[in-house]
């Protein structure tokens, strides 16, 4: 499939897992970023179709990255991710413009469902 995916997460291991899952379900173009600045830079360059953002990043929060990307393109499809279900953080991410939330570590089923729902917009 031609959709471009982007993963924003400071963990190399998690980016590798996500990349593997995405490739396994048929998405071969996967862009990676480990912090907010890199995410914004890569977004401007690559314009991915779906962006998965960890809510806890070393420099800025995932909510701030979400806002920064949506400022560049308000139509960007952003999926918030977190290893903990923090309802306040999820609500903040959704209010900031994220479309959905995925619990880390995710799986092919959840990932595929989210991409089917939002990726085709």
């Amino acid at each position: 499939m031609k959709l471009k995916m982007m993963i924003v997460d400071d963990s190399d291991a998690f980016r590798d897992i996500m990349k593997e899952l995405l490739v396994r379900i048929g998405f071969e173009i996967v862009i990676e970023a480990k912090d907010c600045d890199e995410a914004v830079r890569e977004f401007e360059k690559e314009r991915p179709d779906v962006i998965f953002i960890d809510m806890i990043l070393p420099d800025k929060s995932g909510v701030e990255v979400t806002k920064a990307i949506l400022k560049i393109d308000p139509r960007a499809i952003i999926i918030a991710m977190s290893a903990m279900i923090n309802k306040r953080l999820i609500k903040e991410a959704l209010s900031a413009g994220a479309k959905d939330f995925l619990f880390k570590p995710t799986n092919e089923m959840a990932l595929n469902t989210v991409i089917q729902m939002w990726g085709g917009e």
Binding site: D100, N107, M109, A110
Partner: protein, 201 residues
């Protein structure tokens, strides 16, 4: 019963629905069915459980109950569960704990929850611990009783297991009563996967 002295909100029969989050329903579990999830760390089982409790489809909200080897405070913190009753499987006495050898009491608490709760789901996490403290046949017997209640009261049951902890014959027995969710098989490992719901934004 062992939970009667508990404060409101901790008693399985008084389970309240969790707060709805504006996220999409990513999984579908059929009413009246029991599932084993081949999920050694139980992460996917909890993801499914929390996703079903935090979303609604057609105005229907599920109420849940967890029986786990993991401490309730840890689960509440990690999964943001405030309303779901949790029973801790432990030899440590306490008002929310249950000794793993008390299989009758365990069965009763789950069956009673299904009996008193509409649109219910139970996550039974720690079946290996139950087997260690009893024996496989005894545990299968209570799973059969719970499965009968699931069918009768149209509940849903999820039991995460580590397939490495069972031999082939034991796995075959479990698979006779349960639908199998097998994430290692990818999307094909999830039964009835097409019934998700998009959130309108």
């Amino acid at each position: 019963m062992f939970w009667k002295r508990r404060k409101k909100g901790m008693r399985p029969e008084l389970a309240e629905p969790e707060e709805l989050l504006q996220i999409s329903r990513k999984y579908f579990l059929q009413k009246g069915k029991s599932y084993i999830v081949e999920d050694p760390a139980a992460a996917i089982s909890y993801d499914i459980f929390v996703n079903l409790l935090s979303t609604e489809v057609g105005g229907v909200r599920l109420r849940g109950y967890i029986v786990s080897r993991q401490h309730p405070n840890l689960l509440r913190k990690h999964f943001g569960l405030t309303e779901t009753p949790i029973t801790w499987l432990a030899t440590q006495a306490g008002e929310n704990s249950l000794d793993p050898t008390s299989l009758g009491m365990l069965t009763h608490s789950i069956v009673d929850f299904f009996n008193k709760t509409e649109n219910s789901i139970v996550l039974l996490d720690g079946v290996e611990y139950l087997i260690t403290n009893n024996d496989f046949r005894k545990v299968v017997r209570i799973l059969e009783q719970i499965n009968d209640a699931v069918m009768h009261f149209k509940g849903r049951l999820m039991v995460p297991i580590d397939p490495r902890a069972f031999d082939m014959k034991e796995l075959a027995i479990l698979e006779r009563y349960f639908e199998v969710i097998s994430p290692k098989k990818g999307i094909k490992g999830f039964p009835e996967l097409q019934k998700f719901k998009k959130i309108e934004r």
